[in-house]
């Protein structure tokens, strides 16, 4: 399995997508952060401690887009190219192959958030806030949990669905997850069957907002709740388990 992961990573590292989107992301984030374009409560935010969490959210946004883009075609491409044949005849099970490709998607998505984090690091250095770097690293690790879940979901969906549909659902899941807390409040205002249905759907979507919030909490030196992080870990666990049991009929 390790060989499949490494091979898949080698292919992706050569992909231009990661560097183009990543580069644009870093440029946009730095431009917005250094030009005082973020405001809160009608005040333009200039303080590094207030801005770093926002910059982190921007990193999360671009990293999520990259995670979806990098994860949606890996598995279908391997099946289309029939590389699966040469792998499966060697006694590798289909689930092992899919799991290995999913893990490679997760690793490359984490690599992309690492790449985008350069923007936060540059920003903190420009502001002379070197002491915050360690906290930033911790926050990125927390955000990495979101990115891993999104990548795993996209990979899992791509086993059966066409790429465009996978991409669309991936983006939808990202937005619902990011607005999870607010949407949950909206759902609670509904009644009857629609509430039941919406609550069910919300349960199926990981709460990216809660994890994102903890990363902001860490960087601002506030209380970090472990619970949503463990919950997200469980989400990742379940998605990976689903890759064990989701197969393509024709390989």
């Amino acid at each position: 399995m390790g060989a499949i992961i490494i091979n898949s990573l080698r292919e992706k590292i050569r992909s231009k997508t990661i560097y183009i989107v990543g580069g644009i992301g870093v440029a946009i984030i730095l431009f917005l952060a250094l030009n005082g374009s973020f405001s809160f409560d009608d005040k333009i935010l200039t303080d590094c401690h207030e801005l770093v969490p926002i910059v982190l959210v921007m990193v999360n946004l671009f990293a999520s887009i990259l995670a979806i883009m990098l994860s949606l075609s890996t598995i279908p491409k391997e099946f289309e190219r029939k590389t699966t044949h040469l792998v499966l005849v060697r006694g590798i099970k289909q689930w092992q192959f899919i799991l290995a490709l999913t893990i490679s998607n997760i690793i490359i998505s984490l690599f992309s958030i690492g790449l985008l984090s350069i923007s936060v690091i540059i920003y903190a250095l420009v502001q002379g806030e070197i002491q915050v770097l360690l906290k930033i690293l911790g926050s990125i690790l927390i955000l990495g949990l979101n990115i891993s879940v999104l990548s795993a979901i996209t990979s899992w969906l791509s086993i059966k669905l066409p790429e465009t549909i996978t991409g669309f659902i991936g983006i939808l899941i990202y937005f619902v997850g990011v607005f999870h807390s607010m949407l949950s409040i909206f759902v609670k205002t509904r009644e009857g069957f629609s509430r039941f249905l919406l609550e069910g759907l919300m349960t199926l979507v990981p709460n990216f907002a809660a994890v994102q919030k903890q990363s902001g909490q860490l960087v601002t030196g506030n209380y970090v709740d472990i619970y949503p992080l463990v919950l997200q870990g469980l989400f990742l666990y379940i998605i990976l388990a689903l890759t064990f049991v989701t197969f393509r009929k024709e390989v």
């Binding site: 060989a3 091979n7 699966t84 040469l86 005849v89 390989v251």
Partner: protein, 228 residues
């Protein structure tokens, strides 16, 4: 080595393999002959477990090691021929000590010795085909399933490939050969079955055919599928 009984494969309502029965004996080169869409590749996929069997049974000798060379191989273009081989060798969990030596020997065997460190993206179709055969030989398998191994090769390449198959046969390997190039099959195969629209039309003992000198496989094939 392989025994297929009443194999049936359906895609939806379409039956692409119908009641196919044949046996591949140990140490022989067995050819699957047929026009495009005759069901050859589907049969191979069923034997390899790459597609489900709708009905029927396949028996393969216990613990037999299998090497497979696909018709249109895809290898990551950024890898060299050597790296491709190393990747598959690792998947097969071959002992790491002997991997280098084995890869080099096999690449030499298929005529890629000099190009082994070139990237696959610079390989011709024929070179890729040879690489496909080389990876099938990793781990010295007892059974080789070669799907159109000479496709895309030039005249000299074809001769070399057939020579290789011959030498593998001499090493005692069992080979299931799928090809639409009748002359090639005639040269290396012991027995062939002719498939048309998923059905077996005829089984031919190539040696008898050659010995009698009465008719060539090509004539037999045309007769069987009812052409010309």
């Amino acid at each position: 080595m392989i025994k297929c009984n009443n194999l049936i494969k359906r895609y939806g309502k379409e039956e692409v393999v119908s009641n196919l029965s044949f046996e591949v004996k140990e140490g022989e080169v067995f050819g699957l002959l047929g026009a495009n869409g005759a069901g050859k590749t589907t049969t191979i996929k069923m034997i390899l477990g790459l597609t489900n069997i709708t009905k029927g049974d396949i028996y393969i000798k216990d613990n037999v090691t299998v090497g497979y060379s696909p018709e249109t191989p895809y290898f990551h273009p950024f890898l060299s021929g050597y790296e491709v081989m190393k990747f598959f060798a690792k998947l097969q969990k071959l002992p790491s000590k002997s991997i280098k030596e084995e890869i080099e020997t096999l690449l030499e065997k298929v005529g890629l010795g000099e190009d082994q460190h070139k990237k696959v993206k610079g390989y011709s179709k024929g070179m890729k085909q040879r690489l496909a055969v080389a990876q099938a030989l990793l781990g010295d398998p007892e059974l080789l399933i070669l799907d159109e191994p000479a496709a895309g090769l030039d005249a000299l390449g074809r001769i070399e490939m057939l020579g290789l198959i011959d030498s593998l046969k001499k090493e005692g390997k069992t080979i299931l050969l799928n090809s639409h190039i009748l002359n090639d099959v005639e040269r290396v195969a012991d027995r062939v079955i002719i498939l048309s629209k998923g059905k077996m039309i005829e089984e031919v003992d190539v040696h008898k055919l050659s010995k009698n000198g009465e008719e060539k496989l090509e004539e037999r094939f045309i007769k069987s599928i009812g052409g010309m």
